[in-house]
Symmetry: C2
Subunit: 188 residues, 2 copies
Protein backbone atom coordinates (compact mmCIF):
# COMPACT_ATOMS: atom_id res chain seq x y z
CA UNK A 1 0.00 0.00 0.00
CA UNK A 2 1.47 3.27 -1.24
CA UNK A 3 0.97 6.85 -0.06
CA UNK A 4 2.03 9.87 -2.11
CA UNK A 5 3.77 12.38 0.18
CA UNK A 6 2.78 15.83 -1.13
CA UNK A 7 3.90 19.13 0.29
CA UNK A 8 6.19 22.13 0.09
CA UNK A 9 8.69 19.94 1.97
CA UNK A 10 10.42 19.56 -1.42
CA UNK A 11 11.37 23.26 -1.18
CA UNK A 12 13.17 22.90 2.17
CA UNK A 13 16.97 23.11 2.25
CA UNK A 14 16.97 19.60 3.77
CA UNK A 15 14.21 18.33 1.50
CA UNK A 16 15.82 14.94 0.92
CA UNK A 17 16.29 14.32 4.64
CA UNK A 18 12.68 15.26 5.47
CA UNK A 19 11.49 12.87 2.76
CA UNK A 20 13.61 10.11 4.25
CA UNK A 21 12.12 10.78 7.72
CA UNK A 22 8.60 10.71 6.30
CA UNK A 23 9.29 7.41 4.56
CA UNK A 24 10.67 5.91 7.79
CA UNK A 25 7.49 6.91 9.62
CA UNK A 26 5.44 5.30 6.82
CA UNK A 27 7.51 2.09 7.04
CA UNK A 28 7.01 1.95 10.81
CA UNK A 29 3.25 1.86 10.12
CA UNK A 30 3.67 -0.81 7.40
CA UNK A 31 2.86 1.49 4.49
CA UNK A 32 5.10 2.77 1.71
CA UNK A 33 5.72 6.50 1.25
CA UNK A 34 6.31 7.79 -2.29
CA UNK A 35 8.26 11.04 -2.16
CA UNK A 36 8.49 13.31 -5.26
CA UNK A 37 12.25 13.85 -4.98
CA UNK A 38 12.80 10.10 -5.38
CA UNK A 39 11.96 10.55 -9.07
CA UNK A 40 15.15 10.52 -11.11
CA UNK A 41 15.07 13.74 -13.15
CA UNK A 42 17.79 15.07 -15.44
CA UNK A 43 18.00 18.60 -13.99
CA UNK A 44 20.04 19.77 -16.99
CA UNK A 45 17.28 18.89 -19.47
CA UNK A 46 15.55 21.77 -21.26
CA UNK A 47 12.13 20.48 -20.17
CA UNK A 48 13.04 19.73 -16.55
CA UNK A 49 9.80 21.16 -15.09
CA UNK A 50 7.70 18.99 -17.45
CA UNK A 51 9.73 15.94 -16.43
CA UNK A 52 9.08 16.73 -12.75
CA UNK A 53 5.35 17.04 -13.51
CA UNK A 54 5.25 13.70 -15.29
CA UNK A 55 7.26 12.01 -12.53
CA UNK A 56 4.94 13.36 -9.83
CA UNK A 57 1.84 12.36 -11.78
CA UNK A 58 3.13 8.82 -12.35
CA UNK A 59 3.83 8.53 -8.61
CA UNK A 60 0.31 9.73 -7.80
CA UNK A 61 -1.17 7.25 -10.27
CA UNK A 62 0.81 4.48 -8.57
CA UNK A 63 -0.35 5.51 -5.08
CA UNK A 64 -3.47 4.45 -3.18
CA UNK A 65 -3.58 7.59 -1.05
CA UNK A 66 -2.16 11.08 -0.57
CA UNK A 67 -0.99 12.83 2.58
CA UNK A 68 -0.85 16.54 1.76
CA UNK A 69 1.14 18.99 3.86
CA UNK A 70 -1.25 21.98 3.82
CA UNK A 71 0.78 24.16 6.21
CA UNK A 72 0.39 27.77 4.95
CA UNK A 73 3.00 28.62 2.33
CA UNK A 74 3.91 32.17 1.16
CA UNK A 75 0.57 33.56 2.25
CA UNK A 76 -2.49 32.64 4.30
CA UNK A 77 -3.30 29.46 2.34
CA UNK A 78 -1.71 26.15 1.44
CA UNK A 79 0.88 25.64 -1.33
CA UNK A 80 -1.01 25.60 -4.65
CA UNK A 81 1.22 22.86 -6.09
CA UNK A 82 0.29 20.58 -3.19
CA UNK A 83 -3.37 21.55 -3.47
CA UNK A 84 -3.35 20.68 -7.18
CA UNK A 85 -2.15 17.21 -6.21
CA UNK A 86 -4.83 16.84 -3.53
CA UNK A 87 -7.47 17.75 -6.12
CA UNK A 88 -5.98 15.35 -8.64
CA UNK A 89 -6.04 12.47 -6.16
CA UNK A 90 -9.63 13.29 -5.14
CA UNK A 91 -10.56 13.27 -8.82
CA UNK A 92 -8.92 9.86 -9.20
CA UNK A 93 -10.95 8.49 -6.28
CA UNK A 94 -7.94 7.94 -4.01
CA UNK A 95 -7.89 8.20 -0.21
CA UNK A 96 -7.16 11.83 0.76
CA UNK A 97 -5.47 12.89 3.99
CA UNK A 98 -3.82 16.13 4.98
CA UNK A 99 -2.36 18.13 7.82
CA UNK A 100 -1.31 21.66 8.63
CA UNK A 101 1.20 22.56 11.32
CA UNK A 102 -0.59 25.89 11.76
CA UNK A 103 -3.80 25.32 13.77
CA UNK A 104 -5.20 28.84 13.21
CA UNK A 105 -8.31 29.54 11.17
CA UNK A 106 -7.99 30.83 7.62
CA UNK A 107 -9.70 34.10 8.51
CA UNK A 108 -7.20 34.71 11.34
CA UNK A 109 -4.29 34.31 8.94
CA UNK A 110 -5.81 36.70 6.39
CA UNK A 111 -6.16 39.23 9.22
CA UNK A 112 -2.43 38.85 9.95
CA UNK A 113 -1.66 39.74 6.30
CA UNK A 114 -3.62 43.01 6.40
CA UNK A 115 -6.83 44.74 7.35
CA UNK A 116 -10.06 42.75 7.20
CA UNK A 117 -13.30 44.67 7.64
CA UNK A 118 -16.98 43.79 7.71
CA UNK A 119 -19.22 45.22 5.01
CA UNK A 120 -22.81 44.23 4.23
CA UNK A 121 -22.45 41.17 6.46
CA UNK A 122 -19.32 39.95 4.64
CA UNK A 123 -15.70 40.02 5.76
CA UNK A 124 -13.57 41.65 3.07
CA UNK A 125 -9.82 42.05 2.64
CA UNK A 126 -7.88 45.14 1.58
CA UNK A 127 -8.62 44.39 -2.11
CA UNK A 128 -12.36 44.20 -1.44
CA UNK A 129 -12.48 40.42 -1.87
CA UNK A 130 -14.62 38.31 0.46
CA UNK A 131 -12.74 36.33 3.11
CA UNK A 132 -14.19 32.84 3.62
CA UNK A 133 -15.43 32.72 7.19
CA UNK A 134 -16.76 29.23 7.86
CA UNK A 135 -14.57 28.50 10.90
CA UNK A 136 -12.29 26.34 8.73
CA UNK A 137 -8.51 26.05 8.57
CA UNK A 138 -8.32 26.80 4.84
CA UNK A 139 -10.46 27.03 1.69
CA UNK A 140 -13.54 24.84 1.95
CA UNK A 141 -12.70 22.81 -1.16
CA UNK A 142 -9.60 21.25 0.43
CA UNK A 143 -11.08 20.93 3.91
CA UNK A 144 -14.21 19.11 2.79
CA UNK A 145 -12.37 16.95 0.26
CA UNK A 146 -10.46 15.58 3.27
CA UNK A 147 -13.69 15.20 5.28
CA UNK A 148 -15.41 13.25 2.52
CA UNK A 149 -12.56 11.29 0.93
CA UNK A 150 -10.25 10.51 3.87
CA UNK A 151 -10.28 12.09 7.28
CA UNK A 152 -10.49 15.61 8.66
CA UNK A 153 -7.50 17.97 8.41
CA UNK A 154 -5.05 17.11 11.19
CA UNK A 155 -3.62 20.09 13.08
CA UNK A 156 -1.61 20.32 16.29
CA UNK A 157 -3.13 21.99 19.35
CA UNK A 158 -0.40 24.64 19.14
CA UNK A 159 1.97 25.61 16.34
CA UNK A 160 5.13 23.53 16.85
CA UNK A 161 8.47 25.26 17.37
CA UNK A 162 9.63 24.11 13.91
CA UNK A 163 6.63 24.33 11.59
CA UNK A 164 8.50 22.76 8.65
CA UNK A 165 10.14 19.84 10.44
CA UNK A 166 7.68 18.71 13.12
CA UNK A 167 6.12 15.45 11.85
CA UNK A 168 3.64 14.75 14.67
CA UNK A 169 0.60 15.74 12.59
CA UNK A 170 2.06 13.93 9.59
CA UNK A 171 2.38 10.74 11.63
CA UNK A 172 -1.25 11.03 12.74
CA UNK A 173 -2.19 11.05 9.04
CA UNK A 174 -0.04 7.98 8.37
CA UNK A 175 -1.75 6.20 11.27
CA UNK A 176 -5.19 7.13 9.90
CA UNK A 177 -4.23 5.96 6.39
CA UNK A 178 -2.79 2.68 7.65
CA UNK A 179 -6.02 2.00 9.55
CA UNK A 180 -8.08 2.64 6.41
CA UNK A 181 -6.09 0.81 3.76
CA UNK A 182 -5.47 -2.90 3.32
CA UNK A 183 -2.19 -3.90 4.97
CA UNK A 184 0.75 -4.85 2.79
CA UNK A 185 4.50 -5.08 3.41
CA UNK A 186 6.14 -1.65 3.20
CA UNK A 187 8.58 -1.41 0.35
CA UNK A 188 9.98 2.09 0.62
Amino acid sequence: MKIYLAGPDVFLPDSIEIGRRKQEICASHHVSGLYPLDNVIDRAAADVSLRIFKGNEAMMDAADAIIANLTPFRGPGADPGTVYELGYMAGRGKLCLGYSNDPSLYVERVRRCGAVVERDGRLIDADGLTVENFGLGDNLMMIHALDLYGSALVTPRETPADIWHDLTAFEACVRAAAARLPAAPASG
Copy 2:
Protein backbone atom coordinates in the same frame (compact mmCIF):
# COMPACT_ATOMS: atom_id res chain seq x y z
CA MET B 1 -21.04 21.30 -23.92
CA LYS B 2 -20.46 22.62 -20.43
CA ILE B 3 -17.51 24.48 -18.92
CA TYR B 4 -17.03 24.90 -15.17
CA LEU B 5 -16.01 28.51 -14.44
CA ALA B 6 -13.56 28.31 -11.52
CA GLY B 7 -11.88 31.26 -9.86
CA PRO B 8 -11.72 33.68 -6.98
CA ASP B 9 -14.29 35.69 -8.95
CA VAL B 10 -16.81 34.30 -6.44
CA PHE B 11 -15.13 36.48 -3.78
CA LEU B 12 -15.62 39.75 -5.71
CA PRO B 13 -18.20 42.24 -4.44
CA ASP B 14 -19.92 41.94 -7.84
CA SER B 15 -19.40 38.18 -8.05
CA ILE B 16 -22.86 37.50 -9.49
CA GLU B 17 -22.44 40.10 -12.23
CA ILE B 18 -19.01 38.76 -13.25
CA GLY B 19 -20.46 35.26 -13.45
CA ARG B 20 -23.25 36.54 -15.67
CA ARG B 21 -20.70 38.24 -17.96
CA LYS B 22 -18.64 35.05 -18.16
CA GLN B 23 -21.72 33.02 -19.04
CA GLU B 24 -22.65 35.52 -21.77
CA ILE B 25 -19.19 35.17 -23.30
CA CYS B 26 -19.59 31.37 -23.19
CA ALA B 27 -22.99 31.58 -24.87
CA SER B 28 -21.56 33.79 -27.62
CA HIS B 29 -19.13 30.93 -28.38
CA HIS B 30 -21.93 28.32 -28.27
CA VAL B 31 -20.81 26.71 -25.03
CA SER B 32 -22.48 26.70 -21.62
CA GLY B 33 -20.75 28.20 -18.56
CA LEU B 34 -21.46 26.64 -15.15
CA TYR B 35 -20.80 29.20 -12.41
CA PRO B 36 -20.51 28.10 -8.76
CA LEU B 37 -22.78 30.84 -7.41
CA ASP B 38 -25.62 29.46 -9.52
CA ASN B 39 -25.88 26.59 -7.04
CA VAL B 40 -28.82 27.20 -4.73
CA ILE B 41 -27.40 26.97 -1.20
CA ASP B 42 -29.23 27.61 2.06
CA ARG B 43 -26.75 30.09 3.57
CA ALA B 44 -28.39 29.74 6.98
CA ALA B 45 -27.71 26.00 7.17
CA ALA B 46 -25.21 24.81 9.80
CA ASP B 47 -23.23 22.92 7.15
CA VAL B 48 -23.25 25.67 4.52
CA SER B 49 -19.59 25.18 3.53
CA LEU B 50 -20.14 21.44 2.96
CA ARG B 51 -23.19 22.25 0.84
CA ILE B 52 -21.10 24.65 -1.26
CA PHE B 53 -18.45 21.93 -1.71
CA LYS B 54 -21.01 19.37 -2.83
CA GLY B 55 -22.67 21.85 -5.19
CA ASN B 56 -19.33 22.77 -6.78
CA GLU B 57 -18.31 19.13 -7.12
CA ALA B 58 -21.62 18.20 -8.75
CA MET B 59 -21.16 21.08 -11.21
CA MET B 60 -17.62 19.90 -12.01
CA ASP B 61 -18.86 16.34 -12.53
CA ALA B 62 -21.49 17.67 -14.95
CA ALA B 63 -18.95 19.73 -16.91
CA ASP B 64 -16.77 18.68 -19.85
CA ALA B 65 -14.08 21.26 -19.15
CA ILE B 66 -12.80 23.81 -16.65
CA ILE B 67 -11.57 27.35 -17.18
CA ALA B 68 -9.63 28.31 -14.06
CA ASN B 69 -8.87 31.92 -13.17
CA LEU B 70 -5.31 31.55 -11.84
CA THR B 71 -4.68 35.28 -11.30
CA PRO B 72 -2.53 35.55 -8.13
CA PHE B 73 -4.69 35.71 -5.01
CA ARG B 74 -3.49 36.83 -1.53
CA GLY B 75 0.12 36.04 -2.34
CA PRO B 76 2.37 35.17 -5.26
CA GLY B 77 0.38 32.11 -6.37
CA ALA B 78 -3.12 31.23 -7.55
CA ASP B 79 -6.15 30.75 -5.28
CA PRO B 80 -5.83 27.29 -3.67
CA GLY B 81 -9.59 26.65 -3.91
CA THR B 82 -9.44 27.18 -7.67
CA VAL B 83 -6.28 25.09 -7.95
CA TYR B 84 -7.98 22.22 -6.09
CA GLU B 85 -10.71 22.32 -8.72
CA LEU B 86 -8.19 22.33 -11.58
CA GLY B 87 -6.52 19.26 -10.05
CA TYR B 88 -9.87 17.55 -9.56
CA MET B 89 -10.84 18.11 -13.20
CA ALA B 90 -7.44 16.88 -14.41
CA GLY B 91 -7.92 13.78 -12.27
CA ARG B 92 -11.34 13.23 -13.85
CA GLY B 93 -9.82 13.44 -17.33
CA LYS B 94 -11.63 16.65 -18.29
CA LEU B 95 -10.34 19.39 -20.62
CA CYS B 96 -8.32 21.90 -18.56
CA LEU B 97 -7.88 25.56 -19.45
CA GLY B 98 -6.75 28.50 -17.39
CA TYR B 99 -5.68 32.11 -17.46
CA SER B 100 -3.99 34.66 -15.27
CA ASN B 101 -4.40 38.41 -15.67
CA ASP B 102 -0.89 38.87 -14.24
CA PRO B 103 1.67 38.03 -16.94
CA SER B 104 4.69 38.13 -14.59
CA LEU B 105 6.74 35.05 -13.72
CA TYR B 106 6.22 33.32 -10.38
CA VAL B 107 9.75 34.13 -9.27
CA GLU B 108 9.20 37.85 -9.96
CA ARG B 109 6.12 37.87 -7.74
CA VAL B 110 7.92 36.08 -4.89
CA ARG B 111 10.61 38.78 -5.15
CA ARG B 112 7.92 41.44 -4.75
CA CYS B 113 6.80 39.77 -1.49
CA GLY B 114 10.26 39.87 0.08
CA ALA B 115 13.95 39.19 -0.35
CA VAL B 116 14.99 36.31 -2.60
CA VAL B 117 18.66 35.33 -2.57
CA GLU B 118 20.78 32.77 -4.37
CA ARG B 119 22.47 30.07 -2.31
CA ASP B 120 24.19 26.92 -3.57
CA GLY B 121 22.71 27.51 -7.03
CA ARG B 122 19.15 27.73 -5.68
CA LEU B 123 16.90 30.78 -5.25
CA ILE B 124 15.57 30.89 -1.71
CA ASP B 125 12.98 33.08 0.00
CA ALA B 126 13.18 34.74 3.43
CA ASP B 127 12.12 31.46 5.12
CA GLY B 128 14.91 29.53 3.38
CA LEU B 129 12.50 27.71 1.05
CA THR B 130 13.45 27.18 -2.58
CA VAL B 131 11.68 29.39 -5.11
CA GLU B 132 10.71 27.50 -8.28
CA ASN B 133 12.62 29.13 -11.12
CA PHE B 134 11.63 27.42 -14.35
CA GLY B 135 10.52 30.57 -16.18
CA LEU B 136 6.87 29.69 -15.52
CA GLY B 137 3.92 31.83 -14.45
CA ASP B 138 3.10 29.68 -11.40
CA ASN B 139 3.81 26.29 -9.81
CA LEU B 140 4.74 23.72 -12.45
CA MET B 141 1.93 21.33 -11.49
CA MET B 142 -0.78 23.74 -12.66
CA ILE B 143 1.15 25.09 -15.63
CA HIS B 144 1.93 21.67 -17.10
CA ALA B 145 -1.53 20.27 -16.33
CA LEU B 146 -2.83 22.98 -18.67
CA ASP B 147 -0.12 22.21 -21.26
CA LEU B 148 -0.96 18.49 -21.28
CA TYR B 149 -4.72 18.45 -20.71
CA GLY B 150 -5.95 21.57 -22.47
CA SER B 151 -3.90 24.48 -23.65
CA ALA B 152 -1.14 26.66 -22.24
CA LEU B 153 -1.89 29.24 -19.55
CA VAL B 154 -3.34 32.35 -21.21
CA THR B 155 -1.93 35.67 -20.00
CA PRO B 156 -2.24 39.22 -21.35
CA ARG B 157 0.83 40.99 -22.71
CA GLU B 158 0.46 43.55 -19.91
CA THR B 159 -1.49 43.48 -16.67
CA PRO B 160 -4.91 44.99 -17.46
CA ALA B 161 -6.10 48.09 -15.59
CA ASP B 162 -8.71 46.03 -13.74
CA ILE B 163 -7.13 42.66 -12.97
CA TRP B 164 -10.35 41.21 -11.53
CA HIS B 165 -12.79 42.34 -14.20
CA ASP B 166 -10.91 42.20 -17.50
CA LEU B 167 -12.20 39.12 -19.35
CA THR B 168 -9.98 39.23 -22.47
CA ALA B 169 -7.82 36.29 -21.36
CA PHE B 170 -10.92 34.46 -20.15
CA GLU B 171 -12.51 34.83 -23.58
CA ALA B 172 -9.36 33.43 -25.23
CA CYS B 173 -9.83 30.33 -23.05
CA VAL B 174 -13.48 30.04 -24.05
CA ARG B 175 -12.48 30.28 -27.70
CA ALA B 176 -9.86 27.55 -27.23
CA ALA B 177 -12.34 25.32 -25.40
CA ALA B 178 -15.03 25.81 -28.03
CA ALA B 179 -12.55 24.83 -30.75
CA ARG B 180 -11.63 21.64 -28.88
CA LEU B 181 -15.02 20.39 -27.75
CA PRO B 182 -17.91 19.06 -29.81
CA ALA B 183 -20.39 21.85 -30.54
CA ALA B 184 -23.77 21.84 -28.80
CA PRO B 185 -26.40 24.51 -28.20
CA ALA B 186 -25.51 26.71 -25.23
CA SER B 187 -28.01 26.39 -22.42
CA GLY B 188 -26.76 28.76 -19.73
